[in-house]
Symmetry: C2
Subunit: 191 residues, 2 copies
Amino acid sequence: MIKTNLELRNLMEELTRNDSIKSAITLRDLQPKQRLIAQDQALQSVYIIKSGVTKCLITENNEKDYILDFLGEGELVGEVEAIRHTKATCTIEAITPLTVYVISNTQFHHFFRTIPAFGSAVLELMATRLARISEKAARQQLYTLSEILPQLLATLESQQITFTKQDLSEYLGISVRSLNRLLKEDGNTTL
Amino acid sequence: MIKTNLELRNLMEELTRNDSIKSAITLRDLQPKQRLIAQDQALQSVYIIKSGVTKCLITENNEKDYILDFLGEGELVGEVEAIRHTKATCTIEAITPLTVYVISNTQFHHFFRTIPAFGSAVLELMATRLARISEKAARQQLYTLSEILPQLLATLESQQITFTKQDLSEYLGISVRSLNRLLKEDGNTTL
DNA sequence: CTGTAAATAGGACAAATGTCCCGAAATTTG
DNA sequence: CAAATTTCGGGACATTTGTCCTATTTACAG
């Protein structure tokens, strides 16, 4: 469930070794709970995760949060805003210590056009994300949670980090109470 | 609720007037209920809607359908598959008489790289779609239907075509029964 | 016009989920 | 260590939504 993009991560490592390029890329560190991007904020840069994990969430007017995805190494954020020239549509919050590559919007567009490997990696990343979000939305509407939960639990076991129940329930789009109920019914003890 | 992309539609009209380009673009007509793309099918082309409206839906293993969106003039389909080299992740079905531009995957990639206006239109389209699907998923999880329905009904009034209740409920991710119940409670008579 | 099929409306009950709330458990602090 | 505070789990009930089913209306072919 934590998305990563090794291709882009490797490419970034390469680019930061290239003298004529690395000056356009800086690094930034964040602590857990710190926000890299806040919803509705105007952005000047895009970010690529070098290490750590974030949650990407949307806060609606009724103050409820929906976690779209957990993004890890090599994932790109802020690109939708850079491309559309809009304010941030979601919040990106660190859930582990985080290091990100920072690229200004201008440089991002420039890299996209002039570095073929970068352009195609970004394009593929966006296409993949589109497919994944669509599938997630469909699954959430068409299956009951008791069908989805086992898959999620299986995935969780293979992850390095542990999620709070709050985060898990926001990812599933249900209340913590419902999540607890389901976990109990499944006789699951691993959480 | 019917998405369109005038920029891309206008661009396609322009391209089909350009002698050196138009040979790479053909047209195809479909009747309502005909499928332009079937889920899991291997694709050789991308399509851009010249006129008409389609529904873009995902069918899950339990045979239930979820309508991601209604796509109209200027919208692009099949691009995710062309970019990722995967089989179709969703079905595209005509709900009105439909005419589409057909571009082979190879040509699509070629256009993307060599026609700047095309490349940026496609990129923007994908970014916009990403933002919209995310918002739709969040809204569906965070609001009750009685909050969403009025907005939808308002939008419906401004549309040219009428949707079946089946389609509307699949778009909302609920059963027809629930939709009827809500419509009744709202005292709504326009549907 | 008539018969058949398709779409629509809604009753009755079951299942899923949310809200409210309280007691147990864990964590912090003096 | 003990008291104070926060987090967590789950009971009880209300609400929402789904499933199943039937009657009614609408659309359409012959």
